[in-house]
Symmetry: C3
Subunit: 347 residues, 3 copies
């Protein structure tokens, strides 16, 4: 694979001040690792110095980038260099060479409607399931009775999708993830727990991506819903009847307890815990390990800590705790002074 | 499926003051989502107002419920309406239509004793394993050498049960869960780690339910034990030689470190961490994200925070931290006053 | 299996002061559970009293162990009794009786180079994958295109290894683990998220052990790397482009965010969170649930809390928070005294 500088200009709409239109690259690299046949990019200004030391043949830089030192690379200017870099990666360097066809040893129930492009060996598609055009079902994945998967989805190996789950179009689900397992609902009766049947479903809308080894439970009644464009990292827990708004990003090992509704365009760091039966406003963001224990009524808040509070409050709290030993010392000093004042009065 | 009001009275033992015994429902719903053919229920008093706005045909309400406004529904009175609702769900609306029979492509070693009701394709039952009557082994599950599974168990897809694991009767294990993997034990020797063979087992007693993608390790010596009626949510970690008492409930993403013994009838929120080699009294409860770092000797405590303390202590601490900036301000004021007192003396 | 005391002396290099060289044991036990045919050991001095009450036939004790009471057991002295115990366990009591051979229903692509000792039913080895001598691939595992696995590795059931992953020799990977899934990288474009192709790989070096249900993502560019001898517990998350140094130990449910570099010989407790783009010095240790939010530049630190600080600082902070109510009381007292002083002056 050999791509000319001119081709990159055409694919990305970058601007270029030089004349080496025939310069070619053959790979994509970080600024530090690249050589003269690499395409690199600068997005975060804190890595600017790497532009000057980089050996990359071509570097995508921000539109307003001002050169402060000489460089060894040809610079292409773009308003969003990371985006431009992604365009090139996606077009020329995507390593996912997917399989096609229906392999021996896959099982498709005769009442299923399967238009998938690939169904791997040892996968299992049960009765009345529907799978749309262009979708790929990798080996070892299980699609339960009546589950629906839209078009152009990728279900990686060893995924389990329980009966009745609904999945839209262009959804990616990574290996080992489980969707539609029973919600965690038990009624205490005489010191034991009676299982509450979980008769609801899961709805995953279009363009959602779900990482590996996630667990998404079916609703008790109604639906657990993950809306359009939302992205889940690995090992994320979504309990029964949760609703997650559109274009939300949830990092690894975060858990959301039952019946909570998350507004769209939110962002959660890793290992965040969100309590049950809460309503979280759109555009909420929460830092890693935050524990959200109450409703978030105002949108665009940045939360941190447990119980989660606004970041500025939290930092005051941390700074405060560190001042406690100072406070104790000062208090001793004040006591001493007061005692002296009293004694001097008595004299 | 059409169920009359009279049938619900008979199935649940509810009391009813009206006369519409022939009224029928065809589904179960939440109070908000229901229509005239829905059965709903009120359990948590904070949702009482939904009873008045609900369109459900029939609503199960608490025995002592007092009507404050007119309703559109027939009301059935029961001491535990959620329990009564579960009885109806379980009897008429259970969506788990399970498979039966032994499918092509399942593997049962000729030394295994398998009386299971269902063994799915691509499942694997190794030598000397025993599986009791009425149990169901879904596709892609693996049962290791000499593992025992009792009667009427459900092993969902892609579960891995290592050799020697013992599972009682009426146990449910959701997809992707791993039971009997090696405990995390290594002896440091000259800056490297020597693997300590994990030669113990796992015992899962009757009526236990385990969520999806959990990891339960085998013991180094002896057994890791989960006692009767205990329920584990998804993504829970149980380390080697842990013992969990009966009828305990553990929410998602909680982890229990090696050799800890948890008393029965305990309740743990999500993302709780419990240290190793601890003894936790029965009837302990801990809130989400709590970190339990020491023994809990007194039963019936409610713990929270890290290191976990009694909930009331914790709230004092949180309230306290938020007062630090007030304290600092007051301190300044006191200092000023003392200085003034001193100066006035000197004058 | 019957092993004489003399055989244990020869296998472990222990020293023995008695004469019962023909005494035999048939099992390994804890000090509390053992009987006259058990081998036990004492490693942690806090369990010393168990030596005096133990019924074990033979006990391995530290070289410098001083008897304070009579014992019922023969004592063998060794500088590292746990290590010696492991040697005996590994040699005589290892329960992992592994399968061999290529089972019906396994799939090996004709362009793969497979010298494995065992390939289980329902496993899938895709094109150009390489698997070395003595390695074992259990049922339901998936090895993607061009992935390489070295010699004497064990891949337990239902593991997913994505294309291009490189795994060294003597590596153990427990059930349900996923290696090489896409890193969590999305570029925000007009309020939506554009998927950034993850074209890098994962490198797992020799002697690494990875627990069950872990998720290890492939790099965006370059490699995610886990170095020689490192051990990961269950449900651990390793994000794209992370590097973990050699002989590091990471307990269950810990997560490491993207591009962070962890120095060798480090130790992390359970549920630790480590932020992205950090550099952590070698020999760092962090307690359970710690949240590491900044670089750790000095090696050999012991961290705890969130944001993680040195253990001693943290304990001061905790002690401090508990003093806040005392501070508030004392403050009231000081105010009162100042008021009295002022009043007495005015008189």
């Amino acid at each position: 694979m050999s791509i000319t500088l001119q081709q990159i200009l055409m694919d990305t709409g970058s601007s270029y001040l030089g004349s080496q239109l025939d310069l070619t690259i053959t790979k994509a690299s970080t600024l530090n690792d690249g050589d003269s046949s690499s395409l690199g990019f600068l997005s975060n200004p804190k890595y600017e110095s790497q532009v000057y030391s980089s050996h990359c043949g071509i570097i995508l830089v921000p539109q307003d980038f001002k050169l402060k030192e000489p460089v060894q690379s040809e610079l292409l200017y773009h308003p969003n260099p990371y985006f431009a870099f992604c365009l090139i990666l996606t077009k020329y360097f995507n390593p996912n060479i997917h399989n096609s066809g229906y392999e021996d040893g896959c099982f498709i129930h005769n009442s299923a409607q399967c238009e998938a492009d690939y169904v791997g060996r040892n996968s299992y598609i049960d009765g009345n399931a529907k799978i749309g055009k262009g979708s790929k079902i990798y080996p070892g994945s299980y699609i339960g009775k009546g589950a629906q998967i839209g078009e152009n989805c990728i279900i990686y190996p060893n995924v389990t999708i329980y009966s009745g789950t609904y999945i839209g179009n262009n959804v990616i689900i990574h290996a080992g993830t489980v969707i539609g397992s029973d919600g965690f609902g038990f009624a205490p009766v005489n010191g034991k727990y009676l299982k509450i049947p979980q008769i609801g479903n899961v709805i995953i809308e279009d363009e959602v991506e779900i990482g590996s080894n996630c667990s998404i439970d079916r609703a008790t009644l109604g639906n657990t819903i993950i809306k359009t464009g939302t992205k889940l990292d690995n090992l994320v827990q979504i309990a029964h009847n949760v609703e997650i708004g559109e274009h939300t990003v949830i990092a690894s090992q975060t858990g959301i307890a039952g019946s909570t509704k998350i507004g769209g365009y939110s962002q959660f760091g890793g290992q965040v815990g969100i309590g049950g039966h809460l309503v979280i406003a759109p555009h909420t963001s929460a830092g890693g390990q935050a524990g959200i224990t109450g409703n978030v009524t105002e949108s665009h808040q940045k939360l941190t800590g447990t119980p989660a509070t606004d970041v500025r409050e939290f930092l005051k709290g941390v700074a405060g705790s560190r001042k406690i030993s100072d406070i104790l010392k000062e208090m001793q000093q004040l006591k001493k002074e007061i005692t002296e004042l009293k004694q001097s009065k008595q004299k």
